[in-house]
Structures are given as C-alpha cells and as structure tokens.
Symmetry: C2
C-alpha cells in the first residue's frame, strides 16, 4: 500500500487506538502550543501576518492569537506563524521539524469553524501530528539536507489530515486531500534565521485547511500524493523510507516528541537540566560545564551584555539557574540581567570545555565551593516520565502565560470545545 | 549578479524599454486571458474555488470571474484556477508553462486593490510574465521532467514581481518578495488531467500576491530566493541556466509566447491552420493529413461520438473546418456535431498518417476532389505577424465572449483602469 493511502486510512479510522500516555502527551503539546502562541503574539511576524489577515477580514470562523476571528484558512496561516515565532514550541527529531505549529493551527481553525468538541479536536490534532511525523521520517534526512524544512512540507500533510478528519471525511476523501495538498506543500530551510521560518509553519497549516475545504466542495485532484514517479517524495528529494509506516495505528511517534523548557538556545538545555539537579554549595568557587564540541561556536558567549546574547551563553544561563532566575521565561533574558553584580560575579567562575564523547544532547556540570564538589550529568534524550514532563510544561506555561496558565491547562485537560479554546487565544 | 537580484532590479526599472510589438503582444495575451477566464467561469474548478472564496468573504478588493469581489489574495487564487480551467490560454515553450494564468490574476487583483490605471497594470503584467518565462528557462527542462509544473513554480515568482511592482516597491523590496515567495512557490505535474492543474496557476498567483503584501507590511524573509546552496533552484532540480538572463530588459521573451486558436488538442492545431489556407474543391473525395508520430496515439480518434472525443480527432476537426464550424468555439464540440450527416460523410474521407521528419508543431494536409489536389503545410513554430495574431485573437475572443468581445478588446486596447476590467470579469 502507498504511504498516501495508508495515512488516509489511518486518519479515517473511526475510533483510533490511543493509549492514555499518548493522549496525555498530546495534551502537553497542546498546552505548550497555546503558551507559545500567546507568548509570540506580539512578535513582528505575528503582527505582520495578522495585519494582512485583518485587512482581508471575512467570515469570523476561527480565532487568531492576539485577537480577532477570520476565515479558517487565514487563521491557520497566522496562528502557525505566530506560534513558531519564538521557536519555543515542540520538536520531533526523527521528523526533523516542529509538528505542533503546523497541525494545531489547522485543527483548531477547522474545529472552531465546525463547532467541534474537544474530543474531536484533540483526536484530529493527534492524528495530524502523528501523520506529519511519519511523512517527515519517510522524506528523510536527504530532504532536509538539500534544503527543505519538514515543518512546512511534512507539516502540510499532517495539517490536511487533521482538517479533513474534522470535516468527517472517509479514506477516499482524505486521500484526495493529500493528493491536493501535495501540489502546494512547501517550505525552505533558507528561511532559517528570518521571519520566513515561522511562516513555513503557517503555510503548512493554511495549505492543509485549504486542501480539505476544496475537497469537501467536490475538488477532484490527482491522487498521486506523496508516492510514485511524479509524487511529492521523488520531486522533493524524499527517501521514501517505508519503515515510516511501522506500527502505524499501534505505536505512536507522538510519544517521543521533545519540548523546550528554557527560552534559550537548545545547546544550553542539557546543562540547565543538569545544574537543576545539583544542590549547590553556599560558597561557589568554580562552575565547570562540559559539552559537545558543536556547541562551542553556537552558544558559548563568555560575557554578553544583551538579552539575545544571554540566550547563547553558558556563562549567563548557569548563573541564572543558581540565582533562581526563571530560564523558561522570555522576559528573564535582559540587559539588566547581564548587568547584575551577582550574575557577573558567578559568570567569572564559569569554565566551558568540550568533550567529543558526549552527544549533542548531553552535558556534565560541576559546581565546586567550600571544599565541596557537586557534579551532575544530563541527557536530553533520556526518557522522562509523563509526570515529570507535565510538571515542566505546567511550569513553562506559568512562565509564559502568568495568571492565565491555569485556565489554559484546564481548557486542555477538560477537553473544552474548540470555541472556548478560540476565545482563550483571542486573549 | 544572482538571478534573484537581476529580476528584482529589472522589475524595479521605473520606465522599462518596451517595444511597441511587445506591448501589443502583451495586450493580445491580456484579451486572450480575459476570454479564457470568462469562458471557464462555470467549470467545476472555477465553481469550487469561487465557492470557497465566497464562504470566506472579506474586503471587496478585487473582482472574480463570474461575479463578486474578494480580498486580492483570494481573487488571485480563484482567477488563476478559472482562467486555466479550459487549458485554452497561452503557452511559452521555453518557459515550459502558461505565463498569463499565473501573472494576470495577481496583477489585476493588486491593481484593482490599489486603484491602478491600465498603464501600470499592463506594465506590471508584462514584467511579471517576462520574469516568469526567464525563471522557467533558468529552472530548465530537468525541473519539468522530474515533476514540477513551471506554471505554478516559475509563475509564482512572476506573479510576485507583478504584485510588488504595482505596490511601488524598489529593487530591495522586490528581492525580499522573491525571497519570501521562494518558500511557497509550488506546483506538481502529477496534477495534469485533474482540477489540480489549473489550481497550480491559482496558487502561483495567490502566493505572489501574498508575498508582496507581507513584504509591504515589513516582513523580512531570507533573500536567498532562487539562487544559492539552499535556494529554490537547487532544491527543485533547477539547472541554473544563467543564459536565462541574456538580453533582460532589452529583448522580450514575451514576443515568442504562443496562443491557442482552436478549442481542441494541441496536436490538431497545425493541421487546422494548414487546412484554413486551402481553397477546397467543391467535390471532396479524400482528405489526407500527415503528422508527427507522437500525435497518432493522442488525437487520432477515427469516429468519436462525443464532444470530448471530437477534441481529439483529426477526422472530426478537419471536416469541421471544411464545413465552416468554428473550431475556436467551445460549444462547437458536441454530440450533435458528431452525428451530423455531412460531417460523417467527410469524416469517412479522412486519412491520417505519420511522418517522423515532421516536428510536433508541423502538419501537412491534402484535399483532393474533382480531379484537383490542394496541399498545404503549416508550422506552428513559424513566425506570425502581430497583425495576423491580432486577427486570430480577435476571432477567438468573439467565439468565447460573443457580443461582449468588442467591449473586452476596447478595455484592453484603451488601457482601461483596473476597476473597469474588474467590473467586466465579474460578468
């Protein structure tokens, strides 16, 4: 069976077999996505895409981060770009991309337009995310290396399935939706470092909604989709790795999604997790961090004096952790922070070195003082219990949403109808 | 200089050097585009995309074939799909695609939204078409062979430049527009034979308008665009043929655009042009047509009894021409036509044979009767005077638009403001 058909049948399954753990992780990603979208709503790419949408106006079908309701296709575009604006959302390393920011905007927009309940919304989002991860795996590393951004490309297929499922489509219709979105799925890695990167998430979401809307109105596209001689895979340097289908419908790649818990460069995260487990001595003489060589040129600024610089500095974030400054909070990274005497005093004691035997996801931190030496190692790839993840996402949501975090968590955990979630993200 | 930068500077030229002939050919393509859009407005892909747009509604910025005004981005999507629905619009063989249906919808929508005059609209459309042809040449045959549809891919870059020029952008802004549209330009050949093919023209037009709108609001994308290691070219199997820039701004590839003058398979056109030059004997005994071998399996149905079949049949269209049935008119191809006694009598006299020494664009027709033999040869690639083209486009417009053809021709030739053209296409 082709990948395209297999994913269509998967997404049409009336009652998919969803383990409790998977459903819980989906809800963690949903809360995380809401928090990232709310925190990103005033970023330039959010303001610019929202301004275009508001100029266009139209039927008030779906809510937009930061206010207003617009046609679902446009809301998906804006919310994708907005929720990825801070690059603080979840990642799936096998998919090589950011699943939530492509799929949730499509799912929520269509769910709101359809008046869907929370159960339908969450199931559709899970199926869309799972499918997008599997498309990403199927496309493979060569697709990414040559210059495509799976968040945009694979994401569009997942967004399309989430949208189509919410419209109640059967497998044949969903296959058509994948066939149609294959001619519009896009997204280049050349945009990294610009507003174009978060925009790629928005175009995936919007293209997915559009394909489902058109098929629902009778559009008959090619069914080629991803597979075959002229399919999206061959044309876009895809590897067509059919192991991407292993366990589809039984095992959930959603389970291995990664969340970011610190509002700084990913290269710093393992060291921050390590130092969090250390009961530091009162008097600190020296802080050592050992990291993978790759990070030495990425996030080892020794004495930055700006908020942006702080996000790329072991010598800043490790003192932040020791001083109790919230590294999950965007607003923590400031000029004022860099200028603090106590931070600068600790910064002078940080020594960074590299060790090729560590993976990029690992770090070792040692804190010495008063004759004591405390050491910790952390591996971001190590399994984390869902309870631990929940605590961390809750803390992140609190950092990003403040006193509205509890409300957001409640909407997600009680599976509130799409309309209530929409009202929340409008602010 | 990169292709991206060169095209941005070309499109920013305040007063481009446009020969009269080129301007006339642009206007022929514009009239042809209007006629094709009006004739295609009730095709399923037109109805479906228009229905989606009407559901969305929004600011009445730009007109839609068949009625209504919508945001420019949506109008461009619908009008691109609508005007390519019949596959009766123009073609550029070096570009390997259909330039007008990607660029005019973007240009007209933005021109209408901006309240532009006809001069600005026509210049922007010409620049967009010229740029899209050059991008198509730069991408080359490999891009097409692997499965991309230049109408959608190269078309998006042309649409983006037309839109940006109408917004009064300078070269730096236009370079940004190309950079942004590079992450959304798309379109697969797998859609051929389905509604997805005309849709590719719509997405090109819409993506072009969107990129220009966003840059006008301050969006800062990657400037990579088409060139370079992660650019659209490398990622999309482009040949990066820099001869595509030869003579840019001086010579116009627009001049070699091809128009369709018959509402049937392209393989029949050379024979129809040939027979049109023959002064047929009163009594016809035999009609011979010699064609390139490729067409024998494409458009050589000996005795079709449906309108669709008639469009793929030498034995039907040559008798049509002899009987004075208008082969440019869509409505000419019917069951009734196939059942006509006089047509069937002539059909029995048609003999089709192949000749490898002919090109795909050439045909030889012989009509014999009453002891006389009349022969004609036609090559679609042979140069045609602009006057001859004008006469043929006027006749085609009359076939497609009926008593509104003169009004359309007048709007184009007098360079009517975009608002008046918009009113016309609303019907």
């Amino acid at each position: 069976m082709s990948l395209t058909r297999a994913l269509a049948e998967f997404a049409a399954t009336p009652t998919p077999n969803i383990p409790d753990t998977t459903a819980r992780i989906l809800r963690l990603s949903m809360l995380d996505w809401i928090a990232c979208g709310m925190a990103g709503r005033d970023e330039p790419v959010a303001q610019i895409t929202r301004a275009m949408g508001m100029d266009e106006g139209g039927a008030e079908q779906a809510s937009v981060f930061g206010g207003g309701r617009l046609p679902a296709r446009t809301a998906a575009l804006i919310n994708g770009a907005t929720s990825h604006a801070l690059d603080y959302d979840d990642t799936h390393f096998a998919h090589i991309g950011h699943p939530s920011v492509a799929v949730f905007p499509a799912a929520l927009a269509v769910a709101e337009a359809q008046g869907a309940d929370g159960e339908a919304l969450q199931t559709a989002a899970l199926i869309g995310i799972e499918a997008s991860i599997r498309v990403g795996v199927w496309l493979g590393r060569g697709h990414y290396q040559v210059g495509f951004h799976q968040t945009g490309t694979a994401g569009a297929f997942g967004a399309a399935l989430a949208a189509g499922r919410l419209m109640g489509m059967d497998a044949d219709q969903l296959e058509a939706v994948l066939g149609l979105v294959s001619t519009r799925a896009s997204g280049l890695k050349s945009q990294f470092g610009t507003m174009g990167k978060p925009f790629n998430a928005g175009i995936a979401a919007s293209s997915g909604v559009e394909a489902a809307l058109l098929v629902s109105k009778g559009f008959v596209p090619s069914l080629t989709g991803l597979d075959g001689a002229l399919g999206f895979g061959v044309t876009h340097h895809g590897a067509a790795d059919m192991s991407a289908l292993d366990g589809l419908g039984q095992d959930w790649l959603m389970d291995t999604i990664s969340h970011k818990f610190h509002a700084c460069c990913h290269g710093l995260h393992a060291s921050l997790e390590a130092i969090a487990t250390i009961d530091a001595p009162e008097q600190i003489d020296r802080i050592d961090v050992v990291t993978h060589p790759r990070w030495m040129s990425v996030c080892n600024q020794p004495a930055p004096m700006t908020g942006l610089g702080a996000k790329f500095s072991y010598a800043t974030v490790l003192p932040m952790a020791l001083l109790g400054v919230d590294t999950a909070r965007l607003e923590s990274y400031t000029e004022e922070l860099c200028a603090r005497d106590d931070l600068q005093a600790l910064r002078a004691k940080v020594h960074v070195s590299e060790d090729e035997s560590l993976s990029e996801m690992q770090a070792r931190v040692t804190v010495a003082g008063g004759g004591e030496i405390r050491e910790a190692f952390y591996d971001l790839d190590a399994p984390m219990s869902v309870d631990d993840k929940t605590a961390k996402i809750d803390a992140k949501a609190a950092s990003l949403l403040g006193n509205r975090a509890e409300e957001a968590a409640g909407l997600v955990s009680t599976k509130a109808p799409a309309a209530e979630l929409g009202a929340f993200i409008r602010g």
